[in-house]
């Protein structure tokens, strides 16, 4: 992470990382599937937490609202607790298209998992994915704002705000 931040992701070779860590290149690839995965270790934990929160959400909540509530709950422990790390990490990702690709697919699998959790709540076939995707979209916009304006609000607040905003864009 230090090297990524210092020289940029692409300019950092795996050999350099291994060297800094006092290990071999071969060993690096035993710990990480590829060079990008370094930045996405904790993503499965977030996914599990999110799924649990969706399952535990108030049964009366509409699908998207359940997702939003889950995101808010997850935000507290996962991001608001230590705001420094996520922002640092995101700066690295934002500087590299390769990493953005990886981030998007992680969010997509997150959405799929959330959709699965929604189905357990009795949400129907296309609705589950739509609600999950919409929820993730809310999260993306909220997270971006939270990163951009440090200290103003909690991530949870941005999520709530974005969710309300989404409702306004639907019309009808």
């Amino acid at each position: 992470m230090e090297l990524y931040a210092e020289h940029g992701f692409e300019a950092t070779t795996v050999a350099a990382i291994a060297d800094r860590a006092g290990l071999t290149e071969r060993t690096f690839f035993r710990h990480f599937a590829d060079k990008r995965e370094v930045l996405f270790q904790g993503s499965s934990l977030l996914q599990e937490l999110l799924v649990r929160e969706v399952q535990d959400a108030d049964a009366a909540l509409a699908p998207v609202e359940a997702v939003v509530a889950a995101l808010q709950a997850a935000a507290v422990g996962f991001f608001d607790a230590d705001a420094e790390r996520p922002r640092f990490r995101q700066a690295i990702i934002d500087a590299s298209p390769e990493l953005q690709e990886r981030e998007l697919i992680k969010l997509a699998t997150l959405a799929t998992a959330v959709a699965g959790a929604l189905r357990e709540r009795g949400v129907g076939e296309p609705a589950d994915r739509l609600a999950a995707e919409a929820g993730i979209a809310v999260f993306r916009v909220a997270f971006e704002a939270w990163v951009r304006e440090p200290g103003d609000h909690t991530l949870s607040w941005w999520i709530r705000t974005s969710a309300d905003e989404l409702r306004g864009t639907l019309g009808g």
Copy 2:
């Protein structure tokens, strides 16, 4: 594309592609930035079309509805006209995680472009991106259904249906 379909994307080397095309490996990389871009040539055309359709959409439409209308308009010329190609292409993408990553980032830039077009309509700061992302989510779900069940309905119909479904997941 033939080689991708026959042996899978990862198993197909650029050398093999160049050979089949009667060209050099080096020449391949002068036409395509990388091995994946072969599958995403037309994406900028779709983007331009979509942006134009958003700009031309009925001014009274709410943001998401403007995007949905644009998607429907684009669907007719871009997908319904020749349903075979997109389905073939999508089968290749669905078989390869690398290609899915690339597809996601293409859709993300699409969303960004659509958000820009919405801003020209006077849509505000977080709402533009939310409406664009929601619209793309609708498209993704609709497209998937359209690919999965050939012949049943037009892509435009699926988009309309998904958009209505999305509204239902938002709740009170």
